[in-house]
Subunit: 463 residues, 2 copies
């Protein structure tokens, strides 16, 4: 078939993907042909089964392979290869959504150090329950659609929350959305058209990257550093690719856990001014930040910044209530786009969030949550360092630690292996612009204290 | 400025729009120039203020005029004229969302015969309240995201509902969405790309038309008839425009109230087969249909049909729970698109809907609702006929009556006049493919028994 070189600096998974693509491009493998099973291939080439799993998954994501339940992998027809790859041949397409399916289908896995959410018992469940009871008791009119921009008292509360974060808006500049994901999707649909260059954190928020790929954006990475941004590379890439939008998460970023310094925020806005960029600021971890750090929006006051946050992380992701704040003109456009893409959001869940946020114990809950996360950060950092991991930075707050181990070249392979032990890891390629193999892993400290996970990771030492 | 001809067959509003466009294209009106106020223009040309309101609104929607609060109307700069009109110059653009704003901002109007929803006291409010109370009492885990496709027991219930409608699916082929609007938006985003010809009912569901315009679709109208479709024109338009998708609402259609006969459904599917079309069937009024009528999906069993419905009309629009059913491959793609555009829907509201639907009094509620609507249909039809209206058809079921009056040429003008009397009408152009002036009005029979509305309409006699 083709030969692999274990000594090469090119990762084995990349060699396998490249080898199959060559065979298909040359016509040596035709549409409909059945491919060797994962185990056959691994055995024949003397490589790990997990390497082959990753390679086959990538070939499915690239639109070259078709996976059929119970019968194996087949070569896709050329026409469906093309139609499935919106971003042009050789780019991971909409079909690379296998990632999301895996993450969410794997929610049943016992240990989830790779997931992006908090365990149920870390959330404000008792406040939700009280809110629910009082909503059931009230004589609320549940008929009719809600307000287009969302439940007014909650928008007013958001205005006050933002004032405390030194962002001055009125309630009309706040649009409630179905979680921060809808807010980001609306911003992307409004600002990005097919073929546009779009600047994103590298590594960055996986779901956003998939959403932008679906819109046909050319993703341009702005490398993260422990202090925020690699500002020189950022400017160079702006000059080279001329993006019009920058989607970024300055604070307690997913996946790196890093937060941008005041000086970095200031410089990003200078660049935005100089090169006429709109900046979409994802600040969903603001409530979990023990420091009262500035945001891009607090510097810029929504001139060039669109500010997005949510209550998923602190109340419950299940209620799906988030928001976006922007200058009046942009906000009206986002509101109209929200209306055409799903009418109003649920006033019902918005009232529920309002009830939880105005609950007397809300502040206490947030305080406890921050303490638990700080403790989790410290414990997991210590453990990972002991296991020989290198940490990108030690955020000491928020959900994430970004780490790599010298024995791991391609974290995806490790993740496939982990699934067999009922463990969900967060492999680095999912957070990268090009989805190429990465040694990095995202750890969620709230799920970190798990014997099974530590046992699994300590096996790396021996590798 | 320019002269108007009241005797012309061209509606006055079209003459005014055309006149201003000519002046701007010729450079006689430059960017930033202040325009005469609505009253000034009406007075100077001896036309109704409402005609001018409609014309100015259209010019805003077309991106030619800018409306500034308290200071009047101005000519937009050429560049923003272009950027605002995604569909190309001369087509109503994304900015024509003023319609949705108006509808939803006018919810405060006292009388709403033009709206698309049921009054609060027609909904299953007591069932919602019971469902809410039991949810508050249960020890439900509210942490974590819901299932990607939505709350499984509700999907199983949908499967059973569909079986009763003779559509056989398994629960994995059901995707819960944020109302039917999100389901339609997902289908549109999956199936339509910029510049594609898309077949839609003419007249059709206003929100869908706006959503498709936003995606840059070329809308091709399939004319409705009292029995369903004008099948000859339908086939001719398919041959001419070669659309790949047909969005249609066969049953108790909005705005016409018409339902397609079995023979029409069969023929539509034959055409879909012959010309390789996917049909997106909006069946949101199925529960309100006293007859057990076939649907496209019941004939085709989801080979070419994507089936969409919701619980907004019978439980409450406020909970925002709808669904889409499709063949497994398409459904997986829609599910992934749902995930990237907003992650999971709210399991919370899905549990609430489930509680209401499994409430012992649910069937009784639906029965009463159908009786009230049948009565409302009969009453309003009689009244409109007495007032000299012509009815498109007499559906005797569902929410809508589609009617026109010989004294009305442009229903939009009447609608602007009605707003001043605290009445929300549904003018026909909103439901049309080209948004051109129309004499038709959509009436919602549930809001029809209103003295103020009848008084307002009876003034037409004298006109």
């Amino acid at each position: 078939m083709f030969a692999l070189d274990p000594q090469s600096s090119v990762p084995l998974v990349t060699q396998i993907v490249g080898g199959f693509r060559q065979l298909m491009d040359d016509g040596a493998l035709r549409a409909g042909a059945k491919l060797p099973s994962i185990r056959q291939f691994a055995h024949a080439h003397g490589v790990s089964v997990y390497t082959v799993v990753d390679a086959y998954d990538r070939l499915v994501a690239l639109g070259y392979f078709l996976s059929q339940a119970h019968s194996g992998f087949f070569v896709r027809s050329r026409s469906s290869q093309e139609s499935s790859s919106l971003g042009g041949s050789g780019h991971y397409s909409f079909d690379s959504m296998w990632y999301l399916r895996r993450i969410f289908e794997n929610r049943a896995l016992r240990s989830k150090p790779g997931c992006g959410w908090l365990p149920g018992d870390w959330l404000f469940t008792e406040g939700m329950r009280r809110s629910l009871r009082s909503l059931a008791a009230e004589d609320v009119d549940l008929g009719g659609y809600g307000e287009p921009k969302g439940y007014l008292p909650l928008r007013q509360l958001v205005r006050d929350l933002l004032a405390a974060r030194e962002v001055v808006v009125n309630a009309d500049q706040v649009l409630l959305t179905q979680g921060s994901s809808q807010a980001m999707d609306l911003a992307a649909r409004r600002l990005v058209r097919e073929g546009d260059a779009v600047l994103v954190d590298e590594p960055g928020y996986a779901n956003l990257l998939f959403s932008l790929r679906f819109l046909g954006a050319r993703l341009v990475g702005a490398p993260r550093t422990p202090a925020g941004y690699d500002l020189e590379t950022l400017e160079a890439r702006i000059i080279e690719h001329r993006p019009k939008v920058f989607f970024t998460q300055p604070r307690l970023q997913s996946p790196t856990g890093s937060s941008a310094s005041l000086a970095h925020l200031h410089r990003v806005l200078q660049l935005a001014e100089k090169y006429d960029l709109i900046v979409v600021e994802n600040d969903i971890y603001a409530d979990l930040d023990p420091e009262s750090r500035p945001s891009l929006a607090s510097l810029d006051q929504l001139k060039r910044v669109i500010y997005i946050s949510s209550f998923s992380k602190t109340i419950s992701p299940n209620i799906r209530v988030g928001f976006v704040a922007a200058n009046p003109e942009l906000l009206e456009e986002l509101a109209r786009l929200k209306m055409i893409s799903g009418l109003t959001s649920s006033e019902f869940t918005e009232r529920l969030a309002y009830g939880a946020l105005t609950d007397g114990r809300w502040r206490k809950h947030i305080k406890t949550l921050k303490e638990r996360l700080a403790q989790g950060q410290q414990q997991l950092a210590t453990q990972l360092l002991e296991l020989g991991f290198e940490l990108f930075t030690e955020p000491k707050a928020g959900l994430f630690l970004w780490a790599r181990h010298p024995a791991v070249q391609n974290a995806a392979e490790l993740a496939y292996k982990a699934v067999e032990q009922d463990i969900l890891l967060g492999p680095g390629h999912l957070f990268s612009v090009d989805l190429e193999p990465s040694p990095w892993l995202r750890f969620n400290v709230a799920w970190g204290q798990d014997e099974a996970v530590l046992r699994f990771l300590s096996a790396l030492k021996a590798t």
